[in-house]
């Protein structure tokens, strides 16, 4: 069951690579949040109540509700509903992402030194999700999509941290959650500011600051 959920989590990235609608991206974020919650639910022992409550709050509340709702609000404010001008067509995006995900599954079968410490499927899929997110950041053209891919990367890192059968101190976990949350919040505010200062939300417009040809 757990492995099926993880594979489903990996597959959400393919949909992310193929679609240009920002609302669909946000729905995928909700889905990823719920999947991560279910992975936690099935995967971990529920003996440590504090840690379990924390993970539930992080996945279900923050990742599946608060962040998508915030991004949804920004999409409506900025009236940017599509990311059409990706550097390469969506079909190739899908192809590249599929190859990376396949690579992730191959890693799962590979016998690493010290592999006893980690769950291979978790590890392979999370590494694939992180790499796909990074590649999508370079391919997609809207800064709002970049924020969404930053969040999927964070989700991948969250899955990676679940793959290691060890726990960080609660204070570190809390700090990480708070930092990520505030980072998304600040990026969201910046998106709004950029929308006001520049005409639109294309990454290519952010090219005023140069080493030569500087003007006040």
């Amino acid at each position: 069951m757990e492995n099926a959920l993880i594979i489903l989590f990996g597959l959400t990235m393919l949909y992310m690579a193929a679609t240009s609608r920002l609302m669909a991206h946000i729905r995928i974020l909700v889905l990823q949040g719920i999947l991560l919650f279910l992975i936690c639910w099935f995967g971990m022992e529920k003996t440590d109540v504090l840690n379990f409550l924390f993970l539930t709050c992080e996945t279900l509340l923050v990742k599946a509700i608060v962040i998508p709702a915030f991004l949804n609000k920004i999409v409506k404010q900025t009236h940017e509903y599509r990311d059409m001008e990706a550097n390469i067509p969506h079909f190739y995006c899908l192809f590249i992402s599929s190859v990376i995900l396949f690579g992730g599954f191959l890693i799962s079968d590979f016998n690493f030194p010290g592999i006893k410490m980690i769950n291979p499927v978790y590890f392979g899929v999370s590494i694939a999700v992180i790499i796909i997110s990074l590649i999508l950041i370079t391919i997609k053209h809207k800064i709002l999509t970049n924020v969404i891919e930053f969040i999927t990367m964070e989700n991948g890192i969250f899955l990676l941290s679940l793959s290691v059968a060890k726990e960080m101190p609660v204070i570190v976990n809390l700090g990480v959650l708070l930092d990520v949350f505030i980072a998304v919040f600040i990026l969201g505010l910046l998106v709004n500011r950029i929308n006001k200062e520049f005409d639109g939300l294309e990454v290519t417009q952010l090219s005023d600051l140069k080493d030569c040809e500087y003007d006040d």
Partner: protein, 476 residues
């Protein structure tokens, strides 16, 4: 107790400012915190008990970093009193600026003092978030662009550093701890494959924050667009905090027997930083951007020193001290120039010495300091590094090092000479603007430059002991 005070005071101050909203409080709390920071750091350097806890502690490895942060913050606080009132009169914006300045210094303090790698990560990410507002402060189109690049690039870099931390926990085997002392004590049993992988991620991730090439792209934008006191803090304090974390992780790789791999990675990034600065510094026509590139160069020198090892590690720590003092002074003086000429363009600034003699001489002295002109302390540190490379028979590296530094010197010198000498632009009168520059906007630079040049002539016993303590704590 004292450490807790350092970490709690800014939050209390923000709460008080938020409740009372009095205008006088804005600068007052920054000054009080700066003074408190300096006093507590001096207590730490005198090895007085400051109340270490499980998560935060002052030991020989981080005292130099704390002391530097305190000195730079004190200088910035004094400068800020005169500077910020020219930026805006909007009380609300000034209040937000003060909140963020306090939280920014708090997060740097946390990053330096934390005993846990995970906690250091949390604080380093917090520095990004706190300083984002400070970079955006002028609310221009270019500052929005710089702010976006800063938050986005640094957040991704730091997220990759977190991947590195997770990989490090895999390398640790059965041990379940991220405390530095436990990691160092058990480093010999770590799995080398995972440790090397973790080091790459952490070096690139935290290296993003430290401004090492090729992940330095946020740095010139952020440093040039933020208000000058913030640029000084970013360059002279924030980069050091990130450097401390890299040093600690590097020590773990050394203790685990993977020193060669770590050295190679650091040498590559260090020389790339020097190379990038040497290439870009020639075509720059924004003087604050030029200083930012100089920071990239100096961060490169620091990691090269650590990678070369031996005497060069001593030189690297000395270089960090000198760089922080001189670069803070350089950035603060650039604030004076901006105040007088109202432009960041090198071409539009000429005859600085005739327009404002004090700013002109500070600008030239800072330049001489940063390019390691004797008796600047950077001369001693770079000389020791070169000597160390020759003794270790790294002749090619040494040659490359000297050539790249000379190119950077020429690039910086060209701009500084053009700006300082000659006649001011005809038909323009800057006298009114010069009057706006108060004594508090010269004083911190003078003190810091005096310290940097005095250290170049004589390194007092206690400074030597502090540096040696750092080396045994971090690199031994």
């Amino acid at each position: 107790m004292m450490i807790n005070l350092l970490l709690i005071f800014p939050i209390l101050a923000c709460l008080i400012m938020c409740i009372f909203k009095a205008k006088w409080m804005n600068n007052f709390f920054i000054n009080v915190y700066a003074l408190m920071h300096l006093v507590i750091s001096i207590c730490m350097s005198m090895h007085l008990p400051v109340g270490s806890s499980k998560y935060f502690c002052a030991d020989s490895s981080n005292i130099v970093f704390m002391l530097l942060l305190s000195i730079v913050f004190m200088a910035v606080a004094i400068y800020n009193n005169g500077y910020i009132k020219h930026e805006t009169t909007d009380c609300r914006r000034l209040r937000h600026y003060s909140y963020m300045m306090l939280i920014f210094v708090l997060s740097m303090t946390g990053a330096i003092l934390s005993t846990n790698l995970g906690l250091s990560w949390v604080f380093i990410e917090a520095t990004t978030l706190a300083s984002a507002y400070l970079i955006l402060f002028s609310r221009t189109k270019s500052s929005v662009e710089a702010g976006w690049k800063y938050v986005y690039i640094c957040s991704i870099g730091i997220a990759l550093a977190f991947v590195g931390i997770i990989l490090l926990t895999i390398a640790t085997g059965n041990m379940n701890s991220l405390y530095y002392h436990e990691l160092m004590a058990n480093a010999h049993i770590f799995n080398p494959f995972w440790l090397k992988l973790a080091f790459v991620f952490i070096l690139f991730g935290i290296g993003t924050k430290m401004g090492l090439a090729p992940v330095h792209f946020w740095l010139p934008d952020a440093h040039s667009e933020s208000p000058s006191p913030v640029s000084a803090l970013l360059s002279a304090a924030l980069l050091n905090s990130a450097f401390l974390i890299i040093l600690k992780v590097y020590k773990i790789t050394v203790l685990a027997g993977c020193a060669d791999f770590g050295k190679l990675m650091m040498l590559v990034m260090g020389f790339l930083s020097l190379f990038i600065t040497a290439v870009f510094v020639f075509h720059i026509n924004n003087y604050k951007r030029m200083l930012a590139y100089s920071s990239v160069e100096n961060m490169g020198i620091l990691v090269i020193g650590c990678a070369v090892g031996g005497l060069a590690i001593y030189a690297a720590i000395l270089h960090m001290i000198g760089h922080s003092l001189i670069k803070a002074s350089f950035f603060l003086t650039s604030g004076n120039i901006l105040e007088i000429f109202k432009t960041k363009k090198i071409k539009s600034v000429t005859g600085l010495l005739k327009t404002d003699k004090k700013t002109g001489w500070l600008w030239i002295a800072s330049f001489l300091g940063i390019v390691a002109f004797p008796p600047s302390v950077l001369f001693i540190s770079e000389f020791l590094m070169i000597k160390s490379m020759i003794f270790q028979k790294h002749y090619i590296l040494c040659g490359l090092f000297v050539v790249l530094l000379t190119i950077v010197l020429y690039g910086l010198g060209k701009a500084v000479v053009k700006m300082s000498f000659g006649e001011p632009h005809e038909g323009k009168n800057y006298d009114e603007n010069v009057k706006e520059v108060s004594f508090g906007m010269y004083f911190p630079q003078i003190v810091m430059l005096l310290m940097a040049f005095a250290l170049g002539i004589y390194i007092p016993h206690f400074v030597n002991e502090l540096i040696n303590g750092t080396i045994t704590g971090l690199a031994g």
